[in-house]
Symmetry: C2
Subunit: 257 residues, 2 copies
Amino acid sequence: MTHDSPSNPETVTAALLVIGEEILSGRTKDANTAYIAAYLTRVGISLREVRVVADVEDEIAAAVNALRARYTYVFTTGGIGPTHDDVTTDAIAKAFGVGVDIRDDAVEAMRLQYTEEDLTPARLRMARIPDGAALIHNAVSRAPGYMLENVIVMAGVPRIMQVMMDEVVPRLAKGRPMSARTVRVDAAEGDVAPPLAALQAAHPDVQMGSYPFFEHRRFGTYVVLRGTDDARLDSALADLWDVIATEGFSASAGDGS
Amino acid sequence: MTHDSPSNPETVTAALLVIGEEILSGRTKDANTAYIAAYLTRVGISLREVRVVADVEDEIAAAVNALRARYTYVFTTGGIGPTHDDVTTDAIAKAFGVGVDIRDDAVEAMRLQYTEEDLTPARLRMARIPDGAALIHNAVSRAPGYMLENVIVMAGVPRIMQVMMDEVVPRLAKGRPMSARTVRVDAAEGDVAPPLAALQAAHPDVQMGSYPFFEHRRFGTYVVLRGTDDARLDSALADLWDVIATEGFSASAGDGS
């Protein structure tokens, strides 16, 4: 439902790997994908693929290797907790073919949260870091995430993932951020599609998407214009409003959210 | 964070492929994954993997071919609308190496919704069906989904996807549905992990998961027991409550949702 992206020589891409049986069973709604997608878009990193897999070492390792070869960065969430079924760290070490052990700087970070007595063998599993990784600080609960080459390993608990994003994103390369303009059109996508295709042809440097919705037993279409140049976006938006007037559509600015 | 699944000779597996740039840009929160995950779990189909990709024909075709070889069923959502950028149907035809054309029975279904005048070339794109596919009825807006071998192609608009699920699931093979019992434990996952591992060893036919949460500046853990036999689940649940009493944890039944 999205028109061709304008080419961008500065594109920095990413994939997200969500690790967790609880998402696949429907027990937990994954809120991390939407958060990370919006965050990366805002800073100029283009999220191109998401995968959700269970807590199975070989599955995780295979997905990491497929994704890290393809995208500038791979973010992972989940599976770095204290139970023996949190296998993400072993999967990362396997994917890179490196060793993994408890690391002193990770234990030091955890001492800010835990007494010596609380540093049980289960919790010390959270200080196991693959060889060569750089730690990602976690101000919430101290057990760190880490970055190994272009793979960024974060917790699955949303509040902890969020502080890890704040910590790691300043270290990353970014492209030009995309801005967006949204118009809600009270007409079916099938009626919006032909004039929108013509508008797209006139503005090849602006990405135009149409997203149908169904509310109160009626169909409508959100039209979203995206691009890295605000002036060009606003020019396309002005032409979109002209099209809406010509077609006689009812419409309003914004996505209502 | 989930212990090993009990082996189930009747396991029917699935993957979900979500197609849509709007999810990757963070504009739209994907609600379909949670709905489909819970639905499949309820009917006895085990969702093992989810992927989200953009509306790019080769990406979709490659993902479909990777997933359909691995799982009993592959569900897709999105990219079957009226615009020329809805490329899912062409991607499915390419993945299977079959032709694709406007099909009379699909057009007939659409006549229930559209007048002849409304059946524009854009809308007739929605009647293009890959050769050999069986239609999936859509009572909401009539443009059909379809099933080709083990791949089930559905709309991305949630209300339409939902009626397509109701329509197609009765045609599918199912395993024994999993039931679940959830206990909220007001203790950190690092403290819950050791006794839970012992409990898991005593109940190998029940899948035990621990899911940490962070609320009001405190950590807690949801313990979820899942299995296909209610009596064995209840036996494991009784033993879990004994463990909680022995450890002196505060806890309550249910997941609070």
